[in-house]
Amino acid sequence: MKAMTRMIVRKALNSVITLFLVIILNFALFRLMPGNPVNAIVPPDPRIPAEYKQHLIEEYGLDDPLYVQFFTYIKDTLLFRFGDSFADPGTSAMSIVLENLRWTLILAGTSSILMIVIGMAIGMAAAWKRGSLFDSGSLAFTLFFYAMPTFWFSMMLIAIFATGLNWFPDSGALTFGTRPEWTWASFVDLIRHLILPAASLTIGAIGEFAIIMRGSLMDVMTEDYITTARAKGLSERDVMRHHAVPNAMLPMVALIAMTLAFVVGGVFQTEIVFSYPGVGYLTIVATYELNYPILQAAFFLIAVTMIVANFVADLLLVMMDPRVSVV
């Protein structure tokens, strides 16, 4: 037990160090990027007076020496303050990121649940009926979609179901110009906008879950305790349900934790293609606009989630599998 506590403390410490490195990198990367952020705030128009540009530079602290900028940055980061977005002055970057996070949670959350459930079901069935037509068929099917570039698959979906058949809208999270409301019509609108991006994400990722579940389950099936369970006279169904599947879940835990992390991180390609206003879409747009506050807030949020998810996955693994704690 003592060894376990020590390991958890060590892992927690490592997480904190990683987070700190991310914070430093966050600062360094965006200062090294070429291009003047002032040009991103102010369009390169000669009619705009130089004094106004100077005022902006001073306001954002872009003329301070780098080390001053660095310490201001560290202080602000620890207080979750990333300054105002360059693109819309007066609005804090963090609030914009959090607003976009809502949509990412809806999109990535829905598709994560779907891909975990469907992927695991396919993996289990494939492992159970190993070598059957279903096994190779489902594997080939899921791998085929897994091999597709996400943006390409998304655009094919748009071409077929939005432009071609006109069943679903092709972009956005709601009909343009409307705000989310607690009405049935608004909800239907949201679902209609959700189906295509969620389908593209889910279908593309099922393969990963199916393959890992199948592999893990087949691994477990060779263990002695499965033979013991069979020898006790349990039906094949009971062996699967009570002995094989719970143990096969171990490798899935890490994968699921990482999937939950990307629920927050946003799903860049899908969000871009569907112009879905989530964190991923926001980050990519911010990269082009050299909108440092937004980028830093988004990177920070994503990194924190990933680190926490990693830590939780490690903890769960230790709690579920006592063998791991030896490492």
Binding site: N14, I17, T18, L21, V22, L25, L29, F30, L32, M33, P34, G35, S136, L139, A140, L143, F144, Y146, A147, M148, P149, T150, F151, W152, M155, M156, A159, T163, I211, G215, M218, D219, T222, G265, G266, F268, Q269, I272, G280, T283, I284, T287, L295, A298, F299, I302, A303, M306, I307, N310
Partner: protein, 319 residues
């Protein structure tokens, strides 16, 4: 084979080693051959590689069979520049807005796409293996430092990181840059994998035996650790090639790929198709064919990778 190498004046131990290597390769091949999915992947990939190597010849043969007015190259303006044209007898997949033949571009495009896949994967594998070996074998504070850096790369969003690196590096978009960006962002998983394997190998008795015989660190790593990690790295790198090809297409999609007027890849063909509103102009093949090529190549690499993994991964071999 033995007589041939002897003629070249190789020493006895080298010959013995070569013989063993050959035996091991043959044994692996015998297992591999029984994997149906793996074989399908291998055959598909070989077809693509042959077509890419002999791209001009393939175009020549096609042109003569179909009776096209000339043998098209990927940058030849065979039609007027405009919005692109639908498929005809002379241009099976139509032409794009540059007036280039889409079939020629697809066939030539396989060259750089595959090249980027292989080289970028080599870069990330090299980096990952080096970090993993060093970290796992020497351990201590070096391990801590390297693993924290690896963690940073693992927790940052992959696509955003690629974009940042691509904008950070000087110079316009080029093949070299794409390779570098994919390589530098893709090594962390490999480092983790190699490190874990090295840490378990390091405690085995044959390493201890070698140490007792007076072997130094460097010798042990070169002679014992690396050869034992290599199969795993190899199986993993096959999967990385697939990821690198996907990454290239994604980078091109967000306009950070190689310049489409000078280099043709499947990724920047898709970029062109979007710029040229292929769907609005009902030029579906322009968008579908390069994408399908990517899917097939990535799929075949994935199939090969999983087949190799089942052979080389000690955890899976039991089955």
């Amino acid at each position: 084979m033995t007589s041939e190498v002897r003629r070249r004046g190789l020493s006895e131990p080298t010959i013995e080693r070569l013989r063993l290597l050959r035996k091991k390769t043959m044994a692996t091949w015998m297992i591999y051959r029984q994997n149906r999915m793996g074989m399908i992947g291998l055959v598909t990939l070989l077809v693509f590689i042959l077509v890419s190597v002999f791209a001009p010849q393939v175009m020549w043969v096609l042109a003569h069979i179909a009776g096209w007015p000339s043998v098209y190259g990927p940058f030849d303006e065979v039609e007027t520049i405009g919005s692109g044209l639908p498929p005809t007898a002379d241009h099976w997949l139509g032409t794009d807005f540059r007036g280039n033949d889409i079939l020629a571009r697809t066939i030539y495009g396989s060259r750089v796409s595959l090249l980027i896949g292989f080289v970028a994967s080599l870069v990330s594998m090299g980096l990952g293996t080096a970090v993993g070996l060093f970290s796992g074998f020497w351990g201590g504070w070096r391990d801590e430092v390297l693993m924290r850096i690896t963690d940073v790369f693992l927790v940052l969003p992959w696509l955003a990181l690629m974009i940042v690196f691509a904008t950070l590096l000087p110079g316009g978009p080029s093949v070299m840059k794409v390779v570098f960006v994919i390589g530098i962002t893709g090594w962390s998983g490999t480092a983790r994998l190699v490190r874990a394997q090295v840490m378990s190998l390091k405690r085995r008795t044959f390493i201890e035996r070698s140490r007792c015989a007076g072997a130094g660190d460097y010798y042990v790593v070169r002679k014992h650790i690396f050869p034992n990690v290599f199969p795993l790295v190899f199986a993993n790198s096959v999967l990385t090639v697939a990821l690198s090809i996907l990454s290239e297409s994604t980078l091109s999609f967000i306009r950070l790929g190689p310049d489409p007027t000078r280099v043709v890849t499947w990724g920047n063909m898709l970029e062109d198709a979007m710029t040229g509103y292929a769907f609005l102009n009902e030029l579906y093949l322009w968008f579908m064919i390069p994408g399908l090529c990517i899917v097939l190549v990535v799929l075949s690499f994935t199939l090969i990778g999983y087949a190799l993994d089942e052979i080389f991964n000690p955890r899976l071999r039991r089955r």
